[in-house]
Symmetry: D3
Subunit: 224 residues, 6 copies
């Protein structure tokens, strides 16, 4: 990578939780040491603690658009929320690549397995996810989507034994339902990925990592 | 990436053309400088000059399996041929991730655009590709697949003005057909990617790069 | 309908054009004389002159939500914009029925014909419409979507000979493409519906009328 | 609606049960008081007590065609039987709109919810309904179809506590299966719609009402 | 085949044309000499000269049912009309296998090729065929359906140079559209099958032969 | 069939089990007595005892191609293994018809019923079968696929009370899951077909018989 001016891959966390953003930074550290474009993770301070309701999603769409316009230096944008707020809007205001993490995560799972499963933080977001799978055209390959059995916040979902136990339980259900790869249905869960993949012996996709990998690959090879 | 022993991402070119493999090395160089797992590209000497016929595909399946068994040190395997010979076989003999470049390329295109197009080296391979798109379940999102208008070998397809002109012509047709992202339908075309993307103002996916990006992202973050 | 307190069917025009809203009032007058729930059409003054860009759509989502919260007296809500801004949001904040006019229009066309066509105001909105057809799950029954050949505003699209000629031209193309029913792909086109249907001898669906009919039917029979 | 000569919306009940037809009249009374086209419900006396077998359906196709030819004064025709006997035949002999109530009911449900459920009178009719959903192209959005647990005639299905209890039980199952809207899978069930919708807090679609609403909307706005 | 009492495979031609039935007898002669169940072809005298309109189809449904009830000795029934009148009705009144020739022909084509084409006698029947392909669930594999360019009766469609030339022209169009196998979309065309297949170098499926083959195979192996 | 030189329908059993081939001969005996093309069943001696692993499948692809080239006298080829090894390869080296028994079996089931079920010898082969159903484009009509509950070899699966009991149990499950026809998911099960069909009162398709029937029908009528 010889061109000095390449802008960062900008990972936009549309919720206000620095804990979640910090978790993303850790999960994506491997890319940063790689001599490619810098990886920059950013919190939207005026966002909600977690993107939970549809109103959160729709407000976040406008917030992320604001960020994208301010940060026109970025080489690529990642919408680091499983509801990918403002994906279409972002694509309408920049010609740089924009990735939504649900799309990137699910499509990456399909590169490894016949059928995929999704772990959602909360039951209420599942219909929203399913609508997007239909939009994406891959709903027929969903083995199932299962919500964490307990009440866990987005920020907690990637840390601690309690949330790990709930993720494990959901992942085991999904394997029984036929999932050959499992997508973490929330940007906050990345901290548990490696451990979970090892324990259930099945690929586990962190959707933000999947999206960054796509953007990274595109850029490090961009000078061809 | 602190663990010393991580094996390479092994890119297997099932044809015997060192020119093609060398083209892959160049196209993937950005990953190698990145401090992640080594990128190793390998030619199958007993393969055909290009995987063109169905017999080539079916023989290549066994050849790639042989390589995978010999090279059990690899952390991930990429089948660097758009017909992804032996994908199911490879997955049956290793628990490490195995990527086929058609699947990875097409799925990466879908992370960026509503409809995708494919440039094939030769007309004859299009029905084979379509069968795989049905298997993958995303055939409804194909805007079209167009073969190069002239007779070009796999090795030539990524080098020289003549093949570039043919790629450009095919890409322009695909844009008219509604493609929002274009997948290079052959491992040998990567040399033209950056130039083509710039000229047609539309994402162009090199499928080997797309597959390596997925594997790379998975591994550099594997220590989470 | 004996219950005195039934709230109106509230038709929300998310653009600021009173001309469009007035056009809707005329197009829906037949329902008003019908002794059922009142039909009330409302302009969002702070909206754009026409919902054209994706930003318009995403801003309109929040505007319509505001209206819905203020007007909790309504018995049903119609999002009178073919991009149906805020449909999911609206459904998350009220338990009353909410109709998007694209969904209602397309589904009504499918009640009359095997394949349907859509007339769009502008080329740029077609990919957005197609994404929604995939979300709706009926994209396989689209014969085609054709944009008006000239540059016409949302407000003009339902009035005058010039826009009528363009609609007619688009409708004729769609018939050739196999459409058995044609959906007007914009809330502003309703003024031309009857004339167009007669001239091309094929059902023409005004999507706002289709949505109001569904809501109306539900309410006049609600006391069963 | 000033034009004196508009013919009625003709609702054709292909079974011989005046009880069912009378139920339809009550369910559709709201439209009649509306100043729009008259609503006329008609029993086919030589029909079976209920359209239950496939033979009933196929014989009813010819009976409804006979009625349509005799009643060429009607502005629109509704085939008020969930198996919509003779839909294609009707459309081949009149240019006026013809609605089948299964199509209209299911499509109206999809205008309100992601997934729909259907309550059938009898198990035996479910495969017939599923074939039509495939023909309609929306089978992927069916959450489930559930038959009444007891033996109930078409005429009884909309009256009395016993049939109501069975409907409620079926509707509750469908909600668990993921239905966001429920279609009554028989023209005779309309008497229970309002009560059922209130009790299960979910839209309940009477398919005849849905079809009439579509036809009505089309006609009251036809003079636009 | 040792059991003396096996009933015939009954091929029911629902039109009144003995010419068509005689053509079927010739086309199916090979099965008769085979020592399996007898092949018996039967004309419905009160049928129309050709099943062309939807009314013909719906009346034929009842006629074929009558035949099936009278001929309960048959071991299997073939509805030898591409609109397969009364298929569901037939299956509701006998437990013996009943084949519709459109279904059998199309499914047999899919056993030989990725995409299939259909030659229709008349344009008007194409939408009816497409509805059935959706019901069958294989519409996505249709390369195209093309009607004979001239006006040809069902009886003439399988005899003479004039109709052969029209079939050839349609078949050539279908090959260009991507068909790898071609289905004759009418029971009357069988006389041209062998010649057409040889000339266009592509499998040509006579749907009645396809259906009889399925029934025959089932019966000659039934004593297994 | 007067032409003396017609080559046989060649049924290729890619495993080395003469027991299985002998079973096929018995199952297909009815065709042989029929005066049509000879039926010839052939064992690939160097094949595995049963095609179980993906490697078996991929090696068998090359073995079957070898046989096809040696036996260019055959009039049609049947790949008598449910994984249909080498189907695409075979079609690339001969212009004669080539049938895979999974495709033929499943398509024949769809000619008789709305939804089909499959009995697999072993759980491990089910994902492989599902991939092919997606390739074939009929996965949405699968009611379910169920593996034999005990450990049974391919050769044993068609003989003896123990394997019959397991087949019966699987078939009963499939009926509950909605299958209207059941496909035996292995070339070795044919010995149980007739008995099973009678006991569960539902069509049972032996896929080799289905494929031979298609080829046979094509050939006995080929002289039209």
């Amino acid at each position: 990578m010889s061109q000095p001016a390449m802008g960062p891959i900008l990972i936009i966390n549309p919720n206000s939780s620095e804990t979640v953003t910090e978790g993303l930074r850790e999960a994506l550290a491997g890319f940063n040491s790689a001599g490619g474009p810098p990886i920059e993770c950013l919190t939207i301070e005026k966002g909600p603690p977690g993107v939970v309701t549809q109103r959160h999603v729709d407000e976040a769409a406008l917030h992320t658009a604001e960020v994208i316009e301010k940060r026109s230096d970025a080489a690529a944008y990642i919408l680091a929320c499983y509801s990918q707020p403002g994906l279409d809007l972002a694509r309408s205001i920049t010609t740089r690549p924009v990735y939504g993490i649900q799309d990137a995560g699910v499509l990456s799972a399909l590169a490894l397995a016949d059928m995929f499963g999704v772990i959602a933080v909360a039951e209420a977001s599942i219909p929203r996810h399913l609508r997007n799978l239909r939009r994406l055209g891959v709903d027929q390959r969903l083995a199932g989507e299962v919500a964490l059995a307990g009440s866990v916040s987005v920020a907690e979902s990637g840390h601690g034994e309690q949330s790990y136990a709930l993720l494990l339980q959901a992942a085991q259900k999904l394997k029984v339902m036929g999932a050959g790869a499992i997508v973490l249905g929330c940007a906050g869960m990345s901290g548990h990925r490696t451990r979970l993949a090892a324990e259930i012996a099945c690929p586990v996709i962190d959707p933000t990592q999947a999206a960054v990998a796509m953007a990274f690959g595109n850029l490090v090879t961009g000078q061809g």
